[in-house]
């Protein structure tokens, strides 16, 4: 029984990397940022602060829900569901002090936004990146 439970747990945690390719956070190479740690990513994406170490205001980008990446991203990042994330943002939006990330409909649009905006940060699958963006954080680390 114990062995079976362990097996199931292994499956649960091992499944996404096995089934899908790793997710990465990419930034504009001119952003001045080489790497970001997990706390940085959480603070930026969860609206705590947006100012990067290079002095550039970070512009996090969310993908539309139907891409499926957004749910995977938050789960991997803070282990929360999309409903929780939405509820979190709901409390903050009324005070107006901070805003949730800008939502783009597609990966391409996100890529495009990153390329075109030095502060932009977007998450996507490793397979979808190109040379124009820099991976600053790898989820699943």
């Amino acid at each position: 029984m114990r062995r079976l439970r362990i097996l199931i747990l292994c499956c649960l945690f091992a499944w996404p990397p096995l089934a899908q390719a790793d997710m990465v956070l990419v930034a504009n190479p001119q952003s001045g940022i080489e790497r970001l740690n997990r706390d940085d990513v959480v603070n930026i994406f969860m609206g705590r602060y947006r100012l990067l170490a290079s002095g550039i205001t970070a512009e996090p980008i969310d993908l539309a829900d139907d891409t499926g990446l957004r749910a995977r991203f938050y789960r991997a990042l803070v282990n929360k569901s999309l409903a929780e994330i939405n509820a979190y943002w709901a409390r903050l939006v009324f005070s107006g002090k901070t805003r949730p990330p800008r939502v783009l409909d597609s990966v391409d649009a996100a890529l495009q936004a990153v390329i075109s905006n030095p502060g932009a940060l977007a998450y996507l699958e490793r397979s979808q990146i190109d040379k124009n963006v820099r991976v600053v954080f790898e989820l699943g680390d």
């Binding site: 969860m46 609206g47 979190y88 409390r91 903050l92 009324f94 002090k97």
Partner: protein
Amino acid sequence: MNSATSNSTRVHWWHGILARSLMGVVGIALLMGIAASLLVGQVVGQHVQDRALVRLGELLDTVESTVSVACFTADEQLASEVVQGLLRNTEVRRALIRAGDGEIAGAERRQRPPGTDRQMNDPAGSMVKRPIYSPFNPSEKIGEVQLEVDWAAVDAQVRESTGFATALLAVSLGLVIVAAAAMMLFLVVRPIKMTSDRLHRLDVVGGERLAMPEGHERTEIGRLSADINQITGRLVEVLEHERTLRHQQEIGQRKYQDLFDKAVSGIFVADRDGVLDSVNRAFVELTWLPEKRGDARQKLSDAGWQDLEGLLSIIRASLDHSDESGVAEDDFLLVGNRGDERWLRVAVMPVGDGSVQGTVSDVTQRKREELSARRLAITDALTGFANRVGLHRAFADIGAATAPFALVMVDLDGFKRINDAMGFPVGDELLVGVAARLREALVETDFVARVGSDEFVLVLAGEQDRKRLSERIQRLAIRLALPYDIKTNAEHIPLTVSISIGIALYPDDGADIQDLLRCAELALNFARTKGGKTYQFFEPALQEAVEHRRRLEDELRSAVSSRRLQVYFQPIIDLRQGKLVGAEALLRWFHTRHGPVSPDVFVPLAEEIGLIGEIGLVVLDEACRHAALWRQKGYDIYVSVNISVRQIPDDLPHETVREALRRHKLPADAVAIEITEGVLMGNVSVAQAWIEGLRADGLRVFLDDFGTGYSSLSYLKRFTMDTVKIDKSFIRDMNADNSDRALVDAIITMAASLGMHVVAEGIEDFQQLVLLREMGCHYGQGYYFSRPVAAEDFTATAMRINAELAELCPSVGESPAKTL
């Protein structure tokens, strides 16, 4: 129960169970209420505080995630929102949110109630702090929420809760008290009151029972009622029983009172000193008790007791012996005022309180009868003298007499014959006459008693001198011998009687009356044997003679019973034919010590002591037996048997004689009966009838000892005899020429002329034989022929006699055929 009791047991309400228990309950409830409200205040206060803190904690819980978001993003606006929300809670006075180092929001309630600044007093308990952690990293503290409790609000809550609880408690207690009071009232007080009221009205004696309060049949009150009923029931029973007893007692007492009042016997209750406690009517009548005088108590001594001391002494004796039956009684003589007497029997017994109850009955009649009976018992009715008992009594009363006296026993000679011949009335008259002369002859100090039919005893006081006594007695004898004029129905009979007298002297001859009487009687008997008409003083020799005679009597009795008396036979000879024709049976007594005893001695003795009848039968039987024997042997002889006057007629009835003849198969002429003149002198008619009877049977009757007694020729004429036996005294003294010869000759001649045979007794020599033959005497007996011989020697003697006679006097046998 009466009204007094019910009044005394009246209950005021403030003394009642209800009031007491209510006061108790109220007091306890008050104490409990105060204590409880204090406790409740404490507990509720603590509870409210705790609840407030808990609620604040919960409040913080609800805002925690929001505050966490606000702190995470340092969103002051959001934090401020939250603070405002927190302040809406009345228990929060101030709210503060810190993020990192700085306060991002804070707010405070404006209005503060005065005087309730618990912040100062209890700063630690007044702040609730909660650390805030990052929503994305639970280990990272990013801020803090602080709430300050509004104690004024909390205290208000506490007061409200405490007040409510206290009010609730008070109401509950009040309700409980009311309920308890109601229960007490209805369950306890009222039933008890009801029972009590009913008890007061209850008529227990009338049999009423206490009703049980409804619904209390099984409660303690019900049981109490039942118990009361039971006890009253028992009480009523006891009362009833008591009443019945008292009733019975009353009836019993009435009965006894009736008995007491109406008893024939006198009844009294008296104390030791004779003071009367109560008496009944019969007692008063019996004792002639005087009327009560004033208030003084009557006493036994008021009545006329002759022996008052004796009466009191039996009362004391009864009281002193109360451990035994204590009954004491005696007869007491009562003498009335007029001198009349009454004998009363008084019986007393103790009643237990130091007094006695006594019964009194009149025994006068019985007493008089007793006295007269006692007098009769010692008195001779005919003469009025004392009788033998009276004589003894008189001597007993005298006791040991010291003065000498003479005891004189007087006996009338031949009184029995007078009685027999002339009848008892004549005899009694004679005795009365004698008594009268005796009485005249006595002096004051003398005493006389009649001790037998014709025996009087005179006690002559002071007489001791024999000479004077003799003279006096001779005068008395002469006086008594004078003729008596006896009156019978029709005629006067002159009667003369001689007396014999025996005299004994006190104290010479005897120390007591018994001895003296015996001595006097001995002397009297001696005088009588001397032929009467004389007196005799007692002599010791008389006593000896009497004793000798008594011994002889005993020996004679012994001899008769042991057959030591023997019958001898003396031959009777036919003088003319010279041969033996008969034998006279003669009794011989060979005394073991004295040798042969004369019949002249022992025959009278046997006659006196009544042995003669028995002896006579023995002689008759022996005579018959031997006659039969000899006749068998060829001796044709008869046997003559002497009969005493005492045997006629009862000791030798004709039938006995006939029976003896039959037994020995003898003809009547083989036995002859010899009687003396004494037989003829007694009761003539009886003797005559007896003799005639014998002769009618064929027996011959001889008249023995003829010539010694009266030899009255009239006897010979009146009694028909076969033979006369001439007494040996005539034959012995008979000579050829003396008067005796003439007498014998006359007798023989007379007998021959009367047609009687003659037997001459005591022929001792040949001369007499010859003389007698010459005078014409037919028969003879005597030593000349033979002495009386024993029966076994008789045949030899007979043979010798026959032989000798034939040889000695051949002339005798000359003409035998003619004479027979």
